[in-house]
Amino acid sequence: MIPYQDIVLKLDEYWRDHGAVLGLPYSSEVGAGTFNPFTFFYVLDERPWCVAYVEPSKRPKDGRYAENPMRLQQFIQYQVIVKPAPRDIQDIYLRSLQHIGIELKKHDVRFVEDDWESETLGASGLGWEVWVDGMEVTQFTYFQQMGGIELKVIPVELTYGLERLAMLVQNKRDIFDIIWTDDVSYGDIWKRREYEFSVFNFDEANIELHFKMFESFVNEFYRLLERGLIFPAYDYLVKASHTLNVLDARRAISPEERQKFIAKVRRMANSIAKKYLGYE
C-alpha cells in the first residue's frame, strides 16, 4: 500500500519531469494554495511558469473536532500551476493520477462543472471538480482573474486533495486511518491538532484580539505597500484573510459584516497586484 508521503514524492517526481519548479508551502496560515506567492504573483504576468508544491490549507469553519471521517479544518493540498495552459493539460493531469497508482481505466473519472472563485483574492476561474468514483479529488481551474486583474495568459491551476487521493489509493474510509508511512498514520500526526484547532476555531479564539489583529494587519499592509515592500506587505494580507476566517468560524461577524471584511481584503489584493505589475 502506497503511503501518503510516497504519493507526495510521486507527484513531485511527476511534475519535476514536466519541468516544474518544486516550490515550498507558505509560512503562515492560508485558506488554499492559491494564496501562496508562487501562485498569486507568478500568474499575474505573461512569463511562462510552472510550479508544484504542498500546501496545508486552513478552513476554520470546516473543523469537526476530528469526528467526521472526511472533513478537517486543515487539509493538505498539492498545488500545481502551469502557465500557459498546455493543450493536452487534461491528459497530463490524468497521467499524474496514474503515476501515483490509480488505475483510471477501472474507475469512474469525470470533470464536473465547478467555477472557482476566491472572493478575498479577487480571483476567479472556470473549470471542474475532478471526480473519481463520485469523490472529488482535484480542483481543475483555468484562471481568468487574479487580484481583480484580467489575465492575458491563462494559467491552469490543479489543486489535488492529498487526503482524498490517499483514501482512494489506500482504500480508507476515514482520513485519520490514512497511512503516512508504514508505521505512522495520519491520525497519529494530526488528530489531536484537528481536535484542538476545532475547539480553538469554534469556542476559544479570542474575538477581541482577532478584531484588533485584523485592523493591525490591514494597516501594516498599506504601510508596507506604500514603501514598495510587496512581499512583506503580502504576508499581512494573508494574515488578515486568515484572521477573518477565524472570526467567521467563531460566529463573531454577521453575514453582512463578513461581506464588508471580504471586500476590504479584496481591495488589498487588487492594489498589491497592480503594484506588482507596475500599474501603480
Partner: protein, 687 residues
C-alpha cells in the same frame, strides 16, 4: 450532387446545464447559414455529449444555388437606332458583359423601357462556404458563461481541443481557436482516437466506440435503468426531471451503478438526504412502497470498463461523508428550537438597506394581518405564529454553513417545525411561503401558506424594487418578475379577489416610503398580461380588460376569459360596436349619471331606459357574482335598443336641456359597460 456534412467540435467537458441550449443555438446558426447562402439541404441534426457538439446536415448540395441578378443597361431608345440597329452604346454594353443581343430583355423601369440581362453566377462550393464561415458560427454559439484558455482570446464554454469537419469523405479545412480541423475524433478517455472515414458513418463509429452522441437515446437508457432499479428493489423513483436532464448531459457512455447508504441516516429529514444525494453526487433517490425514503440510490457512471464493485464502494463511501456533514448541522440545529431563535433574527441582515430578518418579519406581520380579511376562517393567532417562525430557519447552521443544503430554505423550516411540535399547518406554511418558485411549481395548499406567500413576495418586490428599481428589458437580476408572476399565479389559481392597491400602499408604508402604487400595479398587470397571453387570450382583449382602472387581478382575469370565450361569435362584434357607439358620444363631454325620466320624450329613449331598468337587477347580481359571461349576454340584450336610439334620436340636440338629458341617458347606459373593459382597445375585423 447530394452529400453529408459533419461538424464535430471536440471540447473539454462542457457544463451539463449549458449543453442543450448551446446545441440548439448552434443548430439555429447553422440553419441560418444554409438558408442565407441558399444551400439546398435535407435535414440538420444535432448531437452532443459533454465533450462534443455535433451537427450533421443530410442531403446537402455540394454547391450553393446559382445566384441570378438582373443587370440593367441603357433605355431601349438608346439601344437601337430608328432602323433597329445596335447603337454604339449597345455594343459597349454587350461587350462589357460579354453577352450577345439574344440574351437581352426589356422591362419598364422609372417610366422608361430599359434593357437588361440576367446574370448567372455559379454557386460557390459548400466546402468553401463552410470553411469561410465556421469560425464565425462557432464564435456565436451562446453560453451563459464563457472563458478564455489561450492567447488569442477566443471565448467558448470550455476549451476546444479538436474539430472534425467533413463533407462526405473529405476534410474541410477550418481553424478555430488554434485548432485545425481533420478527421480524427476522440472517444472515451483511454480509448484510441477514432478516424472518421466518411461523414455519414459518424454515428456508427461513435457507437462502435461506445459513445452515445444522441441525448435522447441516453435519456432513454437512463430511464430504463431507473425503472429496472425500481423493479429489482421494489422501490419508486423520487421523480426529478431536472436531475435527469443534468445526468443525461454529464455522461456519454452511461453505465448505471446502484448503491446503498447506511440506514442510520434516515433520521435526517428526507429533503436533506435527497439533497445530499442529488445536489452534490447526482444520485437518483427512491422511496419504499410505503412512501418512506429508501436507502437505495442510483448513480450513472461514464466508464463501461470500470470495475463496478470498486466504483460502488467509492460511491457509498462518499455519500456517507455528505450525510455525516448533514448530521453535524442537524444535531447542532436541534440544540435550539426555531421558536427560540426569533430574537436572533435581529442579528441577520435580510438585504443591505432593507433591514434585518426581524424587520422583514415585522413587515410580514402587518401585511398578513391586512390579507387576513380575505381569509376569515384562518385563526389569527395561528397565522401570526407562522409569520414569526417563517424566517427562523435562515439562522440554522444547515442553511448558513451547509453548502449544498443552503438551498433548502423553507424546507428546513418546515421539517424542523414538525420535529419541534409545531402544528402541521404552520410547518407547511413555512415551506409554502416560497411557492411557486418556478413556472410549474405547485401553489401553496394551505391558507396560511397562501397568505404568507403573497405577503413575502409583495414585500420583496416593493423593497428590492425601491432600492434596485423594477426590472427593465430582459435584465431581472433579482427575479422580481418571477415573484410578481408568483403572486398572479396564486390569486388566479386560487381564485382570490384581492385589492392590490391597499396592499401595495401598506407595503410601502412598512418601509416608511411614499407609495408608488400605479407603477407597481402596472408591474403586476404586466405579469397578468403575460399569463393571459399564455392562456391564448387575444391581445386586444387583454388590453381591453387590463387597462381598466381595477386593482383586483383575478377579476380582470375573469373578464378577459369571458370575452375571449366569445371572441369568434358575431355577438362579440355586436357588443364591441354598441359599447363603442355609446362611448364615442360621451368622449370629451360632461354628462349626468342619470336622465330625468320625465323628459324622455322619444319612444326609442323610453324603450332603452325601461329595458335597462329591466335587466339592471340581473346585471348587478351577475357582476357581483362575477358571472361575466352572463353579464355579456345581458348587455347584448341592449343592442337593438341602442341601435334604435342612435338611428331615431339625435343625441346632440339643438336644445341644451334636451341634449343634457339625452347625454345623461347615454351615460347611464354606458355605466353598465364601462366596468367590463375599455372597448376602444378591442379590435374588430374592419378596424
Amino acid at each position: 450532387m447530394s452529400r453529408t456534412l459533419l461538424v464535430e467540435i471536440g471540447t473539454e467537458e462542457i457544463p451539463a446545464r449549458f449543453l442543450t441550449p448551446a446545441a440548439t443555438s448552434f443548430r439555429e446558426l447553422f440553419v441560418e447559414f444554409l438558408t442565407k447562402n441558399s444551400i439546398p439541404y435535407g435535414e440538420v441534426k444535432t448531437f452532443y455529449t459533454p465533450r462534443r457538439m455535433t451537427i450533421i446536415v443530410e442531403r446537402i448540395a455540394d454547391k450553393q444555388n446559382d445566384i441570378l441578378t438582373e443587370v440593367y443597361g441603357p433605355p431601349v431608345s438608346k439601344f437601337f437606332t430608328d432602323k433597329g440597329e445596335l447603337t454604339q452604346q449597345a455594343i459597349g454594353y454587350l461587350r462589357a458583359h460579354n453577352i450577345t443581343v439574344d440574351e437581352i430583355k426589356t422591362k419598364q423601369k422609372g417610366g422608361k423601357e430599359v434593357v437588361y440581362y440576367v446574370k448567372r453566377e455559379p454557386g460557390k462550393p459548400v466546402a468553401r462556404l463552410v470553411s469561410d464561415t465556421l469560425y464565425e458560427l462557432v464564435q456565436k454559439v451562446r453560453f451563459p458563461k464563457t472563458m478564455r484558455w489561450n492567447g488569442d482570446g477566443f471565448r467558448f464554454a470550455r476549451p476546444i481541443r479538436w474539430m472534425v469537419v467533413m463533407l462526405d469523405d473529405e476534410v474541410i479545412p477550418v481553424e478555430v481557436a488554434g485548432v485545425k480541423s481533420n478527421r480524427i475524433s476522440y472517444g472515451l478517455r483511454f480509448d484510441p482516437p477514432i478516424t472518421v472515414d466518411h461523414a455519414c458513418n459518424y454515428l456508427k463509429l461513435m457507437r462502435a466506440a461506445r459513445i452515445e452522441p444522441d441525448p435522447e437515446v441516453r435519456r432513454k437508457k437512463i430511464l430504463d435503468a431507473i425503472h429496472k432499479e425500481e423493479e429489482v428493489h421494489n422501490i419508486v423513483w423520487v421523480e426529478d426531471r431536472e436531475l435527469l436532464d443534468e445526468v443525461v448531459n454529464l455522461v456519454e457512455a452511461p453505465v448505471p451503478i446502484g448503491g446503498e447508504f447506511p440506514s442510520r441516516y434516515l433520521k435526517l429529514p428526507e429533503p436533506v438526504i435527497i439533497t445530499a444525494l442529488r445536489e452534490h453526487q447526482r444520485y437518483f433517490a427512491f422511496k419504499d412502497r410505503d412512501g418512506r425514503l429508501s436507502t437505495h440510490f442510483l448513480f450513472i457512471g461514464n466508464n463501461p470498463d470500470a470495475d463496478i464493485e470498486q466504483v460502488r464502494e467509492g460511491l457509498e463511501h462518499i455519500v456517507v461523508s455528505r450525510l455525516e456533514d448533514a448530521m453535524f448541522y442537524f444535531e447542532e440545529d436541534q440544540k435550539r428550537k426555531l421558536r427560540d431563535r426569533i430574537e436572533e433574527l435581529k442579528k441577520v441582515v435580510w438585504r443591505a438597506g432593507l433591514g434585518t430578518l426581524y424587520d422583514k418579519t415585522e413587515r410580514l406581520v402587518k401585511l398578513t394581518q391586512h390579507l387576513h380579511q380575505y381569509f376569515a376562517d384562518v385563526p389569527k393567532e395561528k397565522l401570526e405564529r407562522a409569520v414569526w417562525l417563517a424566517k427562523t430557519d435562515m439562522l440554522t447552521t444547515m442553511l448558513r454553513d451547509g453548502k449544498e443544503f443552503t438551498k433548502l430554505q423553507g424546507i428546513i423550516g418546515k421539517e424542523y417545525a414538525l420535529l419541534q411540535g409545531e402544528e402541521p399547518e404552520i410547518a407547511t406554511a413555512i415551506y409554502e411561503q416560497y411557492l411557486p418558485k418556478t413556472q410549474d411549481d405547485p401553489l401553496p395548499a394551505t391558507d396560511i401558506g397562501t397568505i404568507l406567500a403573497i405577503a413575502d413576495k409583495v414585500d420583496s418586490i416593493v423593497g428590492i424594487g425601491m432600492i434596485e428599481g423594477l426590472p427593465k428589458g430582459s435584465f431581472d437580476p433579482f427575479a422580481l418578475r418571477r415573484l410578481a408572476q408568483g403572486v398572479v399565479r396564486i390569486v388566479v389559481g386560487k381564485g382570490l379577489f384581492i385589492k392590490l392597491k391597499p396592499l401595495l400602499e401598506l407595503a410601502f408604508k412598512n418601509y416608511g416610503r411614499e407609495p408608488e402604487v400605479d407603477k407597481y400595479l402596472a408591474f403586476f398587470k404586466d405579469r397578468l398580461r403575460r399569463m393571459m397571453e399564455d392562456k391564448g387570450v387575444r391581445y386586444d382583449i387583454i388590453e381591453g380588460v387590463v387597462s381598466l382602472d381595477e386593482d383586483d387581478l383575478y377579476d380582470l382575469y375573469l373578464k378577459g376569459m369571458a370575452f375571449n370565450k366569445m371572441r369568434d361569435k358575431p355577438e362579440f362584434e355586436d357588443l364591441v360596436i354598441i359599447a363603442r357607439r355609446v362611448g364615442n358620444i360621451l368622449e370629451g363631454v360632461e354628462a349626468d349619471p342619470k336622465p330625468d325620466t320625465a323628459k324622455l320624450t322619444e319612444p326609442a329613449e323610453r324603450a332603452i331606459y325601461s329595458k335597462a331598468m329591466e335587466i339592471m337587477p340581473a346585471l348587478e347580481e351577475a357582476k357581483r357574482e362575477r358571472r361575466y359571461e352572463d353579464v355579456v349576454n345581458l348587455l347584448l340584450e341592449l343592442g337593438p335598443y341602442i341601435h334604435r336610439l342612435f338611428d331615431d334620436v339625435l343625441i346632440m340636440a339643438e336644445d341644451a336641456a334636451i341634449r343634457k338629458n339625452r347625454l345623461a341617458l347615454v351615460n347611464f347606459i354606458y355605466a353598465m359597460f364601462r366596468d367590463m373593459a375599455d372597448f376602444r382597445k378591442m379590435v374588430l375585423p374592419g378596424d
